[in-house]
């Protein structure tokens, strides 16, 4: 068995944007650039970009409070885990439940999706794996 040199080992990138719709484009570009670095193919890069943008859009559509949206990318050699987090009020949270189309798209494009609510922090966790990785 040959030992493979790990290039990425839980390397961590974060970006935080104001909850204004015009910054989702910045997140899309950044997400594509990061995914490209990790070696995803063009279609996978697009999937990740769309999923992260939809996660931001879910928050932007329901959030009344004026806090930032935080996105965290955890990089490993064969997969990327992404957290999208935001403070969110009880009321916003109810509104959020209705937004089905965005979440449906995210679930279709990513390998794993998990939604968490914890003391006023809404967290969406997504994992995308590189499928054509060498065995």
């Amino acid at each position: 068995m040959s030992e493979k040199l790990k290039i990425y080992d839980n390397d961590n990138i974060k970006i935080s944007i104001p909850n204004k719709p015009e910054f989702v484009g910045v997140v899309r570009l950044t997400t594509s650039a990061i995914s490209n670095r990790l070696g995803f193919n063009i279609e996978e890069i697009d999937d990740i970009k769309v999923a992260v943008a939809e996660a931001c859009t879910i928050i932007l559509e329901s959030q009344l409070t004026n806090t930032n949206i935080d996105i965290e990318y955890i990089l490993n050699d064969n997969e990327m885990t992404i957290f999208v987090r935001s403070e969110i009020s009880e009321q916003d949270n109810e509104q959020l439940a209705e937004k089905g189309l965005g979440l449906f798209i995210i679930k279709s494009l990513m390998n794993e999706v998990e939604m968490k609510d914890d003391s006023g922090i809404k967290e969406l966790k997504m994992i995308k794996r590189i499928e054509d990785v060498a065995q």
Partner: protein, 105 residues
């Protein structure tokens, strides 16, 4: 990160031809919704969306198309989408909206 929209009424086919250039997302879709509402107000007719220069669409953009379609259906009109890029086609496919709109390659 912007959207420009060209709109024309085609007298021959009696339909609107809408050509959005750029990205249809949560930032630009409110304006796109307004444009669709205006033309529907001006003249109820079929709408053809020419997607040749549409680079990106998100769930809010799809939502705007869906609500425009609902309005048009009241008068038996329809929305046809042409020249669409592969990344956008994929979103119509996974949401099942490829069966709701008339999509011509």
């Amino acid at each position: 990160m912007a959207l420009e929209v060209i709109k024309n009424f085609n007298d021959e086919n009696q339909c609107w031809i809408i050509k959005p250039t750029g990205e249809l997302d949560i930032y630009t879709s409110p304006n796109f919704k307004e444009i669709l509402n205006e033309i529907i107000e001006e003249k109820r007719a079929d709408i053809t969306i020419d997607g040749e220069k549409l680079e990106y669409i998100d769930s809010t953009g799809l939502g705007v198309l869906i609500s425009a379609l609902k309005k048009l259906k009241e008068n038996e009109h329809n929305i046809k989408i042409i020249n669409i890029k592969a990344n956008i086609k994929k979103l119509f496919n996974i949401t099942g909206l490829n069966k709701v709109f008339i999509i011509k390659e």
